[in-house]
C-alpha cells in the first residue's frame, strides 16, 4: 500500500515538473524567436506565468479546490486581492503620471 502511494505521489511531482517545464519553455521560445509583436508576447508571457503559478501550487504545494482545509487558499486569495489593489494601483497611477509627463 505504502509503495503504491509512494509511486503515485512521485508521479504527481513529475507531472507538475513536466507541466512547469513546458510552461517555462514556451515563454522563453516566444521571446528568443520573437517577432509576434509586444502585445501578443506579453499576453503569452502572462498566461504561461499564471498557469505555471497554479501548476506549482497544485503539484508542489498541494493547494487546490478539493481540500477540506480552505484557509490556506483563502489566505492566498486575500494576499492576491491586496496585491491587486496595491501593485495594480501603483502601476496604474505611476503609469498615468508617466504618460502625462511625456
Amino acid at each position: 500500500m505504502s509503495e503504491m502511494n509512494y509511486q503515485h505521489e512521485v508521479r504527481g511531482y513529475l507531472t507538475g515538473f513536466a507541466l512547469a517545464l513546458f510552461l517555462t519553455l514556451v515563454p522563453f521560445a516566444f521571446v528568443v524567436w520573437g517577432g509576434f509583436g509586444a502585445v501578443a508576447t506579453l499576453i503569452v508571457l502572462g498566461g504561461c506565468a499564471l498557469a505555471q503559478f497554479v501548476v506549482q501550487l497544485r503539484f508542489f504545494l498541494h493547494i487546490d479546490l478539493h481540500r477540506q482545509k480552505r484557509e490556506d487558499l483563502q489566505l492566498i486569495l486575500f494576499s492576491i486581492l491586496l496585491l491587486v489593489i496595491m501593485a495594480g494601483g501603483t502601476i496604474w497611477i505611476v503609469g498615468n503620471l508617466g504618460m502625462r509627463m511625456m
Binding site: 515538473f17 512547469a20 517545464l21 515563454p27 508571457l45 504545494l61 490556506d72 501593485a87
Partner: protein
Amino acid sequence: MKHPILHPGLNLGPHHGEAHEQAETLAFGFWVFLMSDFIIFGLAFATYVTMANPMGLAGGPGPKEAYDLTSVFAQTIILLSSSLSFGMASLAMRFERGRGAVTFWLSVTLLLGLAFLFLEVRDFAHMIDIGAVPSRSGFLSAFWGLVPLHALHVAAGCLWIMIMIIQMRGFGMISLVKTRIVRLGLFWHFLDLIWIGVFTIVYLGGLAS
C-alpha cells in the same frame, strides 16, 4: 488517501503521529509569513514595472544591455529542478525511506540552489562591470531591489538546508526535525513561485517590451 489535509505542502500523514499533528499550526503560521513575503515581492515587482520605461532608464543600461537570457534560462531550469528534488526529499521523509534518502535529496537540492546562486552572482558581477549599478537609474534601483532580494532568500534557504542536514544527523528524524523540514519545503517551493514572476516580468517582460 482519505485522511484530511492539514496544511499546505506535503503532509506527513497520520502515521507520523505527533509531528503530523504539530505540523498543522506550525505550517499555517509559516504560511502567513510567506504570504506577507509575497506582498513584499509583489510591490517590488510593481516598482520595477513602473520603472521599466525610457524615463525610468534615464539613459542608463537597459534590459538588452544588462540581461543574459541564456544564463537566466539555466537559472530557471536549475531552480525548477531543485523544487522537484525537494519534493523527492519530502516524499522520502513522508514514506519513511530512511534518513539517508532524505539527506541525499536535500543535498541534491542544496547543490542546485548553490549552482543557481553561482550563475546569478556571475550575472550581477557582469552588470556591475558594464556600469549597471543601482545608483545609475530608477530602473536599475528597482532591479537591484528585487532580484537580489530573491537571491538572498535562496541563500537563506541553502543555509537552512545545511542546518537541517546537520540536525538530521544529530537528532535523528524526531518530530522537531520533521516539522522544520516541512516548513523548509514550503519556503523552497515558494521561492520557485516568486522566480516565475522574476523570469517572466523582469527578464522576459523587460526584453519583450
